[in-house]
Assembly symmetry: none
Homo-oligomer: 532 residues x 2
């Protein structure tokens, strides 16, 4: 049974109607979509049709039942669109069915990697520990890039942590996306160089299917570290893709999702839709309407949602709740009680209203946070690096952080034995060894330093990927092929491999060819290619 | 006013609450998201904030008002995600607001081209005129490609018009997408060559963001003429993109959209969501639950939806209503009355149930249609031209990035002249130069590669910081002081400086000491220290 997706539906069942029949109708509707008697084989009847596992009356509500149905994970194709369809595709068009619990088998969970940064990774990026984060939004819509950039700068000067685009900022004629991003990011950098803090700016990615990836590439080129996304506007699988493909902190916004939970007898619980699912698909942060603001969440919704984001869940990192929507500085004490320190307090309009100067308002915001959360001593390096996110796809290395790696004879480093280059069955290569030197032993560098050595006539596997290589030849000489170009690398020559450039390294000499290769620590998987 | 997007909301307004205030709240929420007094300019107040155009009580319902608000089309960026956000982004999370009317200015309508085939185009492809089309679905989920192909063939033999994948058929392990598509398409072609009719097979496109376009390419390569899409599962803009980019007939499915209309006091009318919008974004056919079936639509919902799909609308072609969901052959007379001939009668489970042999059932289906509509002569299908998609993101310019930095004499690299180490007044150092090699020229690496050279008796400034250093000695030898430790670095030795470790580099030899230093691209400023 733990191999099944288990979905619990709260169902209204008026007197005289059979709850067993209603339950079976759901189990059929969400799978075979034919009457029982039209199912051609026993196998389909037994392993494709949902299995009604449990029917229990809801104690507090008359004529309500919690019905648990189990589904084989293969039905989802291990992909988001069909998973959503299985979850609530056709039955979204029936009345009085609400999904109140969801339990996913490990095999399905493993299809997506969850947040890349999560709580620890964002803390380490910011260098902020032991207090909640302070965030605001760039607004109002209608402002030009210069006005928004000056707000971003003021917020950064005031020492805030994250300033995101309002989620209605797209690529409007009066505020073009690229101008906004470059001006705001430069403003933040200017302020950061003065404050020494590392305030982050998250632009909103919103555009046509053709444009959005170019927007993300642009954002990366501007050294932006995170983005805002509204999965229900741009397609939830696009968030999953970006989380996997880029090293960007992802803040997910609930725009357009409210209909799924506004009716307590229909839809999907917010803790599932904005908590479990967003986290599973890669959101580092989930923005949601705090209770008591101008939206319709109650304290229990918020509590369950925060729990779904932060509770232990196998290898899926915990994510940040970001309560928002009509909050003000006066709420911070109450937010502390409700959310504690591992939360992002997102105050928008009220911060703008608080004083004429956003840097002053931000200082007051930070003051209110600091007065609620006592200042902490400098965190030790060890503590920080123990919380570092790992790129999920690469095998972990085991070893200690070393502060000194003296070169031994024949290009090996003390404490860093060579690895196999890759698994042979996964790539085409010859006579090459890999030495993982820095970055895989608990350091918190955003890059890894490796040394590769290719023996005479050897070569690396041809590949391409989003992440870049920096290559430094330190032994002998070799050939770097980039597309159709061949670059001869001699000792201390440096090469740069741009994103998505096909490349391969070869040793055509009669001496070993050794080089350092520096890469981003969190990076995409190479795309395998035929020999170039 | 005809230049504005006009949205009519039905709003509940309990006695004692001001409907004017509620209306203004929506106009602000959907645009600037700040209180009126925080709007910085008159221009934003007048042309960005929604304009309340009309407030009228609903005659038939107490405490209900129809409120019409106008928005400038520029706010949408002329793109679907931000259009949806303006339509119902944040207010989806408020209760008791339902969109009941939508009027779009010509300038905005022109952003998308609507159906490519529409009613006339699909008739011409099929060669079927003056009668409704007969459609069914390949099911049940769990069947292998061979079983589905034999159903497709039977339907085509029986003379049906369109057979679509059930929308839960994705790329499951037990029924891989490509096998299914190729087997079903070949089966249809086989049958068509016998019947002389042109039955069409529409596979369901459902997969990850990375895969879906390849699925579409595959479908085109198999000479498939149309596809099924569930825009609310795969992202509605992806439908718009496919409609624009390919010559495929597009059938849109409402899966996962039911929450938007299940509550008569909340959400968006089906006629708008599945009618106006789907048609505008390129659907040739919109599938929806017919009244009287197993879903919750009423006759008025269905009537308004069909009207929204078929009524004259500038250059936007009319699209097909495809009522479905629990229909049987007995309903055809009633469907004729309700939908007439320009509709697709989609009968799924009931057709399978009708007899053991789907070709027999289909003949009965066609018989029932022909007996209600006079027979028409056949017309040959038009030829389709398929276009190749373009990846917009594949190319990118990189400014002064260099892919090859050969070492020159005396440890300088071509194209990378040495810098001053630091500004003298800001730090204490002696006889040291800095070469910025990679990371500052437009690369998107998360690290920078620098080379430093310290002359005999020289030293770097003592400092500490959050970011880490990775140091690789490549010339001569030098001393790295870490706190009280002194590490001797010789050629190709590597050192790691952990967070907040005090450190300094010195050359106590009589030859130059040169080393690479790799750091995070985004990093904190060093804290200056006295000489250690």
């Amino acid at each position: 049974m733990s191999d099944l997706i288990q979905i619990t539906y709260k169902i209204s069942c008026p007197p005289g109607v059979s709850i067993e029949k209603l339950s079976m109708e759901i189990a059929l509707e969400q799978t075979v979509e034919v009457p029982l008697e039209c199912i051609p084989t026993r196998e389909i009847r037994e392993s494709v049709v949902g299995q009604v596992l449990e029917i229990a009356p809801v104690r507090t509500e008359q004529h309500q039942y919690n019905v648990k149905i189990g589904y084989h994970p293969d039905l989802t194709a291990y992909q988001i669109p069909q998973f959503l369809n299985l979850l609530f595709g056709n039955i979204s068009m029936k009345k009085n069915i609400r999904i109140v619990e969801l339990s996913l088998p490990d095999r399905l969970v493993a299809s997506f990697s969850g947040p890349k940064f999560g709580i620890a990774g964002l803390r380490s990026t910011l260098g902020v520990f032991n207090r909640p984060l302070a965030a605001t939004a760039l607004k109002p819509l209608g402002s030009d890039p210069a006005r928004l950039a000056s707000l971003a700068e003021a917020f950064a000067r005031g020492g805030g942590d994250i300033i995101k685009d309002d989620h209605s900022l797209a690529d409007q004629p009066f505020c073009p996306f690229r101008e906004r991003v470059s001006q705001c990011q430069r403003a933040i950098a200017r302020a950061n160089s003065k404050t020494g803090h590392n305030t982050l700016y998250f632009p909103n990615i919103s555009g046509s299917w053709e444009q959005m990836q170019a927007q993300v590439e642009y954002v990366v080129s501007q050294d932006v570290k995170g983005i805002l996304l509204s999965p229900w506007l741009i397609g939830p699988d696009f968030m999953r893709y970006l989380a996997k493909q880029y090293s960007l902190i992802i803040m997910a916004h609930p725009a357009f999702a409210g209909t799924y939970f506004h009716d307590p007898s229909h839809g999907i619980k917010p803790a599932i839709l904005l908590g479990t699912l967003f986290r599973w698909w890669g959101a580092d942060i989930s923005v949601f309407p705090n209770y008591g603001g101008r939206f319709s969440f109650n304290p229990q919704d918020c509590r369950e949602l925060s729990q779904a984001l932060r509770e232990p869940w196998g290898n899926i990192l915990p994510a940040w709740p970001a309560p928002a929507g009509g909050m003000s500085l006066d709420n911070i004490g109450e937010m502390k009680k409700e959310y504690g320190q591992d939360a992002i307090y997102l105050i928008g309009g009220a911060l703008l209203k608080h004083s004429q100067d956003l840097s002053v308002s931000t200082r007051d915001f930070m003051e209110a946070i600091h007065s609620n959360f006592p200042k902490q001593p400098e965190v030790s390096a060890k503590e920080m690096i123990s919380k570092r996110p790992q790129h999920s796809w690469a095998e972990k290395s085991f070893g200690k952080i070393l502060e000194h790696l003296p070169l031994q004879d024949d290009f090996c480093w003390t404490g860093r034995d060579p690895f196999e280059y890759k698994q042979k069955e996964q790539a085409d290569f010859k006579d090459i060894t890999r030495h993982e030197l820095i970055g895989r032993y608990g350091e918190s560098t955003s890059f890894d330093l490796r040394y590769f050595q290719i023996e005479p006539k050897g070569y690396s596997s041809p590949e391409k990927h989003r992440h870049e290589h920096v290559i430094i030849c330190i032994r002998g000489q070799g050939i770097l092929r980039q597309g159709n170009k061949a670059i001869l690398l001699k000792e201390h020559d440096i090469a740069y491999v741009p994103p998505f450039q096909e490349h391969q390294l070869k040793n055509e000499s009669d001496q070993p060819f050794g080089f350092f290769c520096i890469v981003d620590h969190v990076r995409d998987r190479p795309i395998k290619l035929g020999v170039i």
